[in-house]
């Protein structure tokens, strides 16, 4: 395979998915290396699955290469996804999820244990790893173990055995760790094992029956309000318990996933400033969409702010273009206000948020083609994450390097350095380093793609971006030296 100044091309029959990439050359592209913080024009050569050379071009050699064309970056790492196997294979499998991940530019994915049976015992984790090997995809599949047995919030799961089976942390995601008491035990025990607890922060009593973010939109729409206080209350509890646990186990670590409100992010900002070992992530949809989408608005969250940073009124703006109550927008936590979305972005920019994680949550049509309040919560988002971040880049809201870092070095830095994680390649620095197995994504910022049910390789077609165009077509994803995804168009214009 070789390519020059633009779209990749490949001579003759190349490798199939899962096969080692024999030779791939890309001249005159924009390289982004978040490990070194460097980006600029350059060229790469992959030979026999190894990233053989990375050459940075200077002066005349760089020619007219800009960061608006073909970009090479390290393979992306999704710190939070649901591939539904075992138990819900009609929504997603390890194989279809891996294909979707590669289409999204991801080469490592961490899966949540809210499966059936849940990942509370090592046998389930081994089954996931076995399914990943059987899939033929080179995408690295990592698993979280459950915090509690049966995710029931009463007793600890087989945490030590799960660590031995290679989990990268523990979570009862889909729900919070039920009690502060159990969370305290989990932080201590996981800390002893050198692993983090990943918490879905939600006060379930405040969100009982809730349908949409509490506020103007939900009031007009007659939807039961999902209050900000539900997230803030949970984060407050979790931080208090973490501070308490640290007295007994200094290795206790807490990661708060999919934070969605300005107030909760502010708590994390202050906790970090106070030195607490807490980290957090935000999702592409909470960065880019707001609750007004439930009413039918279809503008980016940053377009829904006025000059003073206040939310604009979609009714006053006559911005309601689509049918209301689209269940692809029903997600937990709910889409918040444009002000909250801006706070997610600010948190990403100032380092309060360590990573962007997709919370990829595929669902079947049966679970989504129902009344809004009865629809399953979740967005199928692993294939649109990069495009959404590139839309932020295009809008001048986020530097390209920060967007890539949020999907590479950001999550990689969250994987604890522990004997249990030594074999996890996601834990290694994600950069463009010569002499190691190639793990990278090539995408074209000058090319857009339309999100359609057919274009999504995930079984979950529950994307609010269906019918819309996103920037940054992924041309090639190479994971651990092997082909993970190749744009079908590449072979057509073989150089």
């Amino acid at each position: 395979m070789s390519a020059d100044a633009g779209r990749g091309g490949r001579a003759g029959a190349g490798p199939g998915v899962g096969e080692k990439v024999g030779r791939f050359e890309l001249a005159r592209a924009w390289l982004v290396d978040p490990a070194s913080g460097r980006e600029g024009p350059g060229e790469i050569v992959v030979a026999d699955g190894i990233l053989e050379s990375v050459v940075w071009l200077e002066g005349d050699d760089a020619g007219d290469v800009t960061d608006h064309g073909v970009v090479v970056a390290p393979g992306l790492f999704d710190f939070h996804a649901h591939f539904r196997e075992p138990g819900f294979e009609d929504a997603e499998t390890i194989a279809t999820g891996s294909a979707a991940a590669a289409h999204g530019g991801f080469t490592s994915v961490a899966l949540m244990p809210n499966t059936s049976p849940p990942g509370d015992e090592p046998g389930v984790i081994e089954r996931i790893h076995s399914a990943a090997r059987a899939s033929g995809s080179p995408v690295e599949i990592l698993a979280y173990g459950a915090v509690s047995a049966g995710r029931a919030g009463e007793q600890l799961s087989a945490m030590g055995e799960l660590a031995d089976a290679g989990v990268l942390g523990y979570s009862d995601d889909g729900a919070p760790v039920r009690t502060a008491k159990l969370l305290r035990s989990a932080l201590l025990y996981a800390g002893m094992l050198g692993l983090p607890v990943v918490e879905h922060a939600e006060d379930l009593e405040l969100t009982a029956g809730a349908e949409a973010n509490e506020g103007y939109v939900a009031s007009v729409m007659g939807l039961a309000g999902w209050p900000t206080a539900a997230e803030v209350n949970a984060v407050s509890r979790d931080l208090a318990v973490l501070a308490d646990a640290l007295a007994d186990e200094p290795r206790a670590r807490l990661h708060l996933t999919h934070l969605s409100t300005a107030a909760a992010l502010d708590l994390v900002r202050r906790a970090k400033a106070a030195g607490l070992p807490v980290t957090c992530d935000v999702t592409p949809h909470h960065l880019s969409l707001a609750d007004e989408w439930v009413a039918g608005a279809r503008r980016w969250a940053w377009e829904a702010l006025d000059a003073d940073g206040r939310a604009r009124d979609p009714w006053a703006d006559r911005a309601l273009l689509a049918a209301p109550y689209d269940t692809s927008l029903r997600v937990n936590p709910p889409l918040r206000t444009p002000v909250d979305a801006a706070a997610c972005l600010a948190a990403l920019l100032d380092g309060t948020a360590d990573a962007v994680a997709t919370d990829h949550a595929p669902h079947t049509v049966v679970d989504k083609e129902v009344e809004f309040g009865r629809a399953a919560t979740g967005i199928s988002g692993i294939e649109t994450a990069l495009g959404v971040l590139l839309a932020l880049v295009d809008a001048g809201k986020l530097p390209l390097g920060r967007a890539i870092a949020a999907l590479t070095t950001g999550p990689a830095g969250l994987v604890a350095a522990s004997p249990h994680t030594a074999g996890i390649s996601a834990a290694r620095p994600r950069g463009l380093m010569e002499g190691v197995a190639a793990d990278l994504v090539v995408f074209d910022r000058s090319d857009r793609w339309r999100v359609t049910p057919d274009a999504l390789l995930s079984k979950g077609k529950n994307s609010p971006f269906i019918g819309r165009e996103l920037p940054g077509r992924v041309l090639l994803t190479i994971a651990a030296g092997r082909l993970a995804y190749e744009d079908p168009g590449i072979g057509d214009d073989a150089a």
Partner: protein, 342 residues
């Protein structure tokens, strides 16, 4: 032939362009005027010895109610029969819904059975939009969750215009009192009454007004084209003082279990529409209620049956308004592009 069956939609006020009646938020003021005029004609039909016209002869209307209802359902069915439609009535207690059939499957089945007009009530906000997305005919919303009850708001408006001198709501003070938070009637009335230029006040205990302050604040600057501002208060005297129209909303017993009210007794003591409180309103003020009433809770029995009460007028006008809407929808062959998404 009657006027009602032969008159085309009045093009001078804008052609009827809606395929469905799901909410009043997308209905313009000229369209509301058209509905009101058409309702006048239907009232003329109802005044005759034989209250039946052939406008919907052979057309099929199905009422699909996922929630209990007496007056709305009977009102729609009466309206459809008055227009000579064939009416099928489905309640969830006797249908496949009890076997777990989804709304989408039920609606597809009804369409395959020839239903052209689907009147539905559902406990989940937004459910009729889901039906409209897959249904080839016309959807009429008989109430969805807390969201909308468009025919109720239109019959309320019609009744107010009928009873107020001059038939004009502009500057008239309308107080809606009760469980505003859970009320689809209140939400739809916000749209129609702010469009009519009324001085609208929403009143109830703070727990049952939740979120409405944010809505009122958003509209306080007159930002919404075609709609004025409105007030939200827990001060019952301020809400009722000099009101031209007082509307009570039903208080449900479940609200105590939800921790929203200490007791019905306490609600009645502070917010019940009784003779003493109603005396704060204008002498000629009318009293309304969408029903069903909890007499002795949100409204005292004497007020409910007093000379001010137009509650039975609301019921009668409800039939006429629903006839008008079925009639207008039946003539809506062309779907305006702007309507496609709604």
């Amino acid at each position: 032939m009657t006027t009602a069956t032969t008159a085309p939609a009045d093009t001078s006020q804008g052609v009827w362009r809606h395929r469905h009646i799901i909410d009043v938020d997308v209905v313009t003021w000229p369209e509301i005027e058209l509905i009101m005029r058409t309702t006048d004609e239907m009232k003329g039909v109802l005044a005759r010895p034989i209250r039946k016209v052939p406008a919907l002869n052979g057309r099929r209307v199905t009422t699909l109610f996922y929630e209990a209802s007496t007056r709305t359902r009977v009102s729609f069915e009466t309206a459809a029969r008055n227009l000579s439609a064939d009416v099928v009535s489905i309640s969830t207690a006797t249908s496949s819904v009890t076997k777990g059939e989804s709304l989408v499957d039920t609606v597809r089945t009804l369409e395959a059975l020839g239903t052209e007009f689907l009147v539905m009530r559902h406990s989940v906000s937004g459910a009729p939009y889901l039906a409209a997305e897959i249904f080839g005919g016309h959807v009429l919303n008989g109430g969805d969750g807390w969201h909308a009850h468009p025919t109720q708001a239109l019959l309320d408006l019609y009744t107010m215009r009928e009873r107020l001198p001059g038939g004009d709501l502009r500057g008239r003070k309308v107080a809606i009192v009760g469980d505003v938070l859970h009320s689809r009637v209140a939400r739809s009335n916000i749209w129609t009454l702010t469009a009519a230029g009324a001085d609208l006040w929403l009143c109830g205990p703070a727990t049952l007004l939740r979120g409405m302050d944010r809505w009122a604040a958003a509209w306080s600057g007159g930002a919404i084209p075609g709609h004025g501002r409105f007030n939200v208060t827990s001060d019952i005297e301020a809400a009722l003082r000099d009101a031209d129209v007082v509307m009570g909303l039903r208080i449900q017993r479940e609200r105590m279990q939800g921790g929203l009210l200490p007791s019905l007794r306490e609600y009645a003591a502070r917010f019940q529409l009784n003779a003493e409180r109603i005396s704060l309103a204008r002498p000629e003020a009318i009293v309304m209620h969408p029903g069903p009433m909890n007499e002795g809770v949100e409204i005292s029995p004497d007020v409910a049956v007093s000379g001010r009460s137009v509650i039975t007028d609301q019921v009668t006008n409800g039939v006429a308004v629903r006839m008008a809407l079925l009639f207008l929808l039946a003539g809506a062959h062309e779907q305006a592009p702007s309507e496609a998404a709604r």
